[in-house]
Symmetry: C2
Subunit: 393 residues, 2 copies
């Protein structure tokens, strides 16, 4: 037998997480995650499962019975919705205005769905009138859209897109990974048939779980399937029995991750959704004021901007990687770089959940200013003043 | 918007986890999991990923480059190995001697593999001579076996089965969910092409990750695929790039779960595999001595017994559920009931990782004795004495 390796213990230090996720996790959530592990069929754990589902329904603004966390990260939630609802040959329209729409399209093809891909400019919302026009021609079984594109910072209108899906009788599938907990998703009001999210964005819980919710209309399609769901792990007919009244053993749920999510949801319930959404809007306004005060330009037009994920053009003369490294190494601040077509052109600044606060923003703007000045980038002097004007209004 | 729910915080109390998993998680592992969350592309996290892989190779007794934790529980690891290695029409022989073999067979069929199912009696090892005989006739592309059947407590011989796979040129796929970290798996010595495990058994880490390892021969088959892997989330061609030198973003890894696994693996490295295996054997012997001292009978023949999962027949007159409830409610001890054909007939007692210690065993045997006596079940008086004889030899 080989020699055992010898590494030192985990000690990451503190970061200020202002990238595209994970966001800052509060000490309370970390403490809940470190509660003693118990069995996945322990009566105490079953009550925590029920409570987690109830709080997720509040968050999704839904009464869907099938609302629960999938035992994987956000992409597992995406795959869950698609693998359960798509049978080979189904027509699936996917609206692509960034990385995550493209991921949905990739999965649809793997599942043998007939992909109808609609591309929109990156950094812009999905145009509902285009979707409706194309959908009327194609007659899709599903219309899939990303509510909040984490790769670009653009938000699309769920109410308008839902109407388009309704007109052609398609199931409406929505990626809420970045929006859930930071802005209204209104699953029931917007007649969303399947939605998924992640825990590490506006829920401010470590990554590892993906909340999903499905309408009874979606479940009807699932129950009418001719073939078994190709994924055993993500098969909602069985997962529903484990999380439902039957409590039929499927897999071992990630107990301590559920404890963490339970606490993160409790914190959201205590703050209240309206207050939380308003907080995200406030810090977003402050960030935009600071960026524009510095002379930097936002990528997304004002009325299509997400509050929790802000893309800004990298100013001329600035070294993308150098700035991000200096932020991380000198200040412990993480922000995100651009993805795909936007790589090297933009920064992505997250204001998600616990990360959205004046302390973080003040530090970030001050640090960014200083680093840009060191790099000889010309910036305007008004950033902090413009930001404080928003806060002190 | 509806009223926010109002639940109390997570406070599960302490359990003694002697069921089929999860096992007791040490305070050190819980503390590591509660380290501050950082980004999944943070340089510090990347070093922890590398170290985790190095320690997993030690544990699997392998030099396979592709060795890493999948972002899901043990069943996600099972699905990962099968979804990557099976293309529609591939002949897949699955040896079934319990629940988890049957689960593999289910997945093979979902993937369009041509299933060759070999059934063996529950509670017994898989017979290598039968496998070889049938494999020579059928010429399977893969032979799949569960090393340690958690549902029955039987171990199968990897060296003998590996030889059979080698003779017919099949890839050898092994479920090590319950064996890894508690007994030798010898991935390289046994020429295993794909293996998966879970964190909540003999690794004594909370559930949520599934360590996997694949040989270069398995990767060759993966790279020769005609079709994309049907699962995006579990596609090893992409996961390998994220965990490999390229660090290409795929999904957001469950950061804090990796921290926990890192610490659990450090604890195993400190103890050393040989010492850890010997510890599992010792407590297993003590448990068997106590059970037989009480007059209870083991389900599995002596030379086919797992050390970490012990099935015992429920004695006449005992109320299965009543005994398990009393253990949990009066003593905080969890043991498992029977699954499938063994439901209501056996108990499953886990001695996994941190749970395998004299304190737990002494408490459990004393409690079980007391509960059975209360139920009027006739038991012999020699349990504790027989157990102590083993310990004090």
């Amino acid at each position: 037998m080989s020699q055992a390796p010898n590494f030192t213990e985990v000690d990451p230090g503190l970061r200020v997480l202002m990238g595209p996720g994970p966001s800052d996790v509060s000490p309370k959530v970390l403490r809940a995650m470190a509660a003693p592990c118990i069995g996945h069929l322990d009566p105490y754990f079953l009550t925590k499962m029920d409570e987690t589902q109830t709080m997720l329904r509040y968050l999704f603004e839904t009464e869907h019975a099938l609302t629960m966390p999938i035992s994987g990260t956000g992409s597992a939630g995406m795959e869950t919705c698609l693998v359960n609802l798509i049978e080979p040959g189904d027509k699936v329209m996917v609206c692509v205005n960034g990385v995550f729409g493209a991921r949905m399209a990739d999965i649809v093809e793997r599942l043998g769905g007939e992909l109808i891909r609609l591309d929109f400019p990156w950094g812009r919302a999905v145009a509902p009138e285009t979707v409706l026009k194309k959908a009327k021609k194609a007659g899709p079984d599903l219309i899939c859209v990303v509510h909040a594109e984490t790769s670009t910072g653009a938000v699309s209108s769920l109410s308008d897109l839902s109407q388009a899906a309704g007109e052609v009788g398609a199931l409406f599938v929505v990626d809420c990974v970045t929006s859930l907990g930071g802005m209204p998703v209104g699953i029931d009001a917007n007649k969303v048939d399947a939605a998924y999210s992640g825990t590490q964005k506006c829920l401010s819980c470590p990554p590892g779980l993906s909340p999903v919710t499905l309408s009874s209309r979606a479940l009807d399609k699932l129950n009418r399937r001719k073939q078994k769901v190709v994924s055993w792990y993500l098969d909602l007919t069985m997962l529903g029995s484990y999380w439902g009244a039957e409590r039929k053993y499927h897999h071992t749920a990630p107990i301590n991750m559920i404890f963490a999510l339970h606490q993160a949801l409790r914190d959201i319930c205590t703050e209240g959704l309206e207050t939380r959404f308003e907080r995200h809007r406030l810090h977003h306004k402050a960030l935009v004021a600071a960026m524009e005060g510095m002379g930097l330009s936002m990528v997304v037009p004002e009325n299509e901007r997400l509050p929790m994920l802000n893309t800004v053009y990298i100013p001329q003369g600035a070294d993308d990687l150098g700035v991000r490294k200096a932020l991380l190494n000198q200040y412990g601040i993480e922000i995100g770089g651009g993805l795909g077509d936007l790589a090297g052109k933009v920064w992505r600044v997250g204001l998600m959940g616990s990360s959205a606060n004046r302390r973080n923003l003040t530090l970030f703007i001050t640090a960014l200013k200083s680093i840009l000045e060191q790099q000889g980038v010309k910036i305007k002097p008004g950033a902090l003043g413009a930001m404080n004007n928003i806060y002190d209004q």
